[in-house]
């Protein structure tokens, strides 16, 4: 239970850290528009995957649902970034 609690807290710290990085990066003028946009979207989907793996415990569900979840993360991330880069 303690080990699990520590892991959940570590994930929360990572999620908050990535949010801070995205927020600060979006107000930075140093990056190009497209580089910044793609970076922010990639960070968002990394956070989504962390939530799915550690909070929703996707590794404990049956294979078809796990494949569906991974497919959603990578498929939606890819499609959203591709549409953004049009």
């Amino acid at each position: 239970m303690t080990l699990q609690k520590d892991r959940l807290f570590l994930v929360l710290t990572a999620l908050l850290g990535l949010t801070l990085v995205s927020w600060l990066a979006s107000s930075s003028l140093g990056l190009g528009r497209q580089t910044l946009g793609v970076s922010v979207l990639v960070l968002a989907f990394v956070k989504v995957r962390l939530i799915i793996v550690y909070y929703m415990e996707a590794s404990t569900v049956c294979r078809p649902i796990r494949v569906g979840l991974e497919g959603w993360v990578f498929g939606v991330a890819g499609a959203t970034i591709a549409l953004y880069l049009l």
Binding site: L8, V11, S26, V40, L69, V76, L83
Partner: protein
């Protein structure tokens, strides 16, 4: 994690599988919204640049932090329920409700600010997307919050927790889905230039 914890993890009930299918379907609906937003941004770049400049990133960031913390409380509550630590479970559920309510307060303040400034759903393409997608997400928060509140008032004893283990896990999954959908909406609507 103890043995009972492991056992619960290994034996997902059919109810929970049904919840997973519902969640995946809901996530697919939001995936279409993300696509619509990105496509509309491609078609009306000026409206989106101007619209995004009128948003208050502070509200969006605050709501992201609040929902991420609420997800941590919810995940911890599910683990406490599995371990039959009823008092810890109840305290974490209360904290989840506080965070969910805070999200709604911040969202209401943000909508009020926008409407007071003269922006509404028919203002332009950006605001049509902004109000409809964040509004639909807010409905999900309200539904999730209702379920979490039900947990607090209806499932209080060890016996009730044991008997409703699948329901507690299902509510937890739904709440995490609400969180992850907001993570993408926040980046897409507020941050991506």
């Amino acid at each position: 994690m103890n043995a009972a914890d492991d056992n619960l993890l290994e034996q997902r009930s059919p109810v929970e599988v049904g919840v997973w299918i519902f969640i995946l379907a809901d996530m697919c609906v939001f995936a279409m919204y993300f696509g619509v937003f990105a496509w509309d941004k491609h078609l009306h770049p000026e409206q989106f640049v101007q619209g995004q400049a009128t948003l208050n990133n502070g509200f969006g960031a605050l709501n992201t932090i609040v929902l991420l913390i609420s997800s941590y409380f919810m995940a911890s509550a599910v683990h406490a329920a599995r371990a039959q630590k009823i008092e810890v479970y109840a305290r974490l559920i209360r904290l989840t409700i506080v965070c969910g309510s805070a999200f709604l307060v911040v969202k209401t303040a943000e909508y009020t600010e926008k409407i007071s400034a003269g922006f509404h759903i028919a203002s332009n393409e950006f605001y049509r997307n902004y109000f409809s997608f964040t509004g639909f997400h807010m409905v999900h928060v309200i539904v999730g919050l209702s379920f979490v509140t039900y947990l607090l008032f209806s499932i209080r004893t060890s016996e009730q927790v044991r008997a409703n283990a699948s329901f507690i896990e299902g509510v937890g999954l739904y709440w995490h889905m609400v969180d992850l959908l907001w993570v993408v909406l926040f980046s897409l609507i507020y941050l991506v230039p």
